[in-house]
């Protein structure tokens, strides 16, 4: 169980990064079923090609879920106040995603701001954003 305290954290500290196994077609099929997002652009290559893609593309929300895992591996989920990201590139099959985060601010109300990113094995940033957590002393 995560056990971190507000007082022990400093601006500039890194959140322990999370690297996930490369995204496979099985990953996308499982995520489609689990998430309820059956958009064929993620699972049907014929459909994807009809819309100008070379291959199916991963669900962006799969990678946001990985970023969420990084956060809840580090802090209890109940600390999470907000979590927002912008997707910056299409996520491909076989991308190996690493999520990283850095504490960008600490406030007197007990909240910490984390700048976070998810990038593939080539360093291409797929999403970037911010989470706010309220932590006990």
């Amino acid at each position: 169980m995560p056990d971190i305290s507000f007082d022990a954290l400093n601006v500039g500290d890194a959140v322990p990064p999370l690297t996930v196994e490369p995204i496979s077609r099985t990953t996308l099929a499982l995520y489609a079923g689990a998430s309820g997002d059956h958009n064929p652009i993620h699972i049907d290559i014929d459909f994807a090609r009809r819309y100008g893609m070379d291959d199916v593309i991963a669900h962006g929300m799969l990678v946001m879920a990985y970023a969420g895992r990084m956060l809840t591996d580090w802090a209890p989920q109940t600390a999470l106040q907000s979590f927002g990201i912008r997707f910056s590139a299409i996520i491909a099959v076989h991308d190996e995603i690493t999520c990283t985060g850095t504490i960008s601010a600490k406030h007197d109300d007990g909240t910490v701001h984390v700048d976070l990113e998810a990038a593939n094995q080539h360093g291409e940033v797929k999403l970037a954003g911010e989470a706010v957590l309220r932590l006990a002393n």
């Binding site: 998430s35 879920a65 109940t78």
Partner: protein, 146 residues
């Protein structure tokens, strides 16, 4: 071009139960091995009422309707042109297996860039629990590739 007079449209609300097996399937699909998200006993030891719904999964239960992309039909957008641009969650209470969530979505904005080559649909969703408390707010931006 998408009809901008649809800004402000409220989509039909819907409710869904947070199913424990669905949470476990989501854990498997996202590589989650933390027992807090898999085992009732670990969840309770961590202070949760039951298996907690992970941070991004409020988005998923919003798709538990017969036509999850109904909004695209309303806007006249083809699913294959859709990209997810931005996603934001605000949390006001924990959600656990067995809770019932009610979703209310409003189309907040519609705009375009690059002379209409890209169009943007912004929606805001309030998610209430079975006690009528707002537990999550979601803001999403979809991008349409024309």
């Amino acid at each position: 071009m998408i009809d901008k007079t649809l800004i402000g449209t409220k989509m039909p609300s819907h409710s869904t139960v947070v199913d424990a097996n669905r949470l476990r399937l989501f854990a498997r699909a996202t590589g989650q091995t933390d027992p807090v998200y898999l085992e009732d006993s670990a969840a309770q030891a961590a202070g949760h009422r039951g298996l907690p719904m992970p941070p991004t999964m409020a988005f998923c239960f919003d798709m538990d309707v017969p036509e999850p992309f109904e909004i695209l039909d309303l806007l006249g957008v083809e699913l294959g042109r859709l990209l997810h641009g931005e996603q934001r969650f605000e949390y006001f209470g924990d959600v656990c297996a067995g809770d019932t969530l009610t979703y209310r979505t409003t189309i907040s904005d519609i705009y375009d860039k690059k002379d209409g080559a890209l169009e943007f649909i912004v929606t805001d969703t309030d998610v209430d629990n079975q006690d009528g408390e707002c537990v999550v707010k979601m803001n999403r931006v979809y991008i349409i590739r024309n």
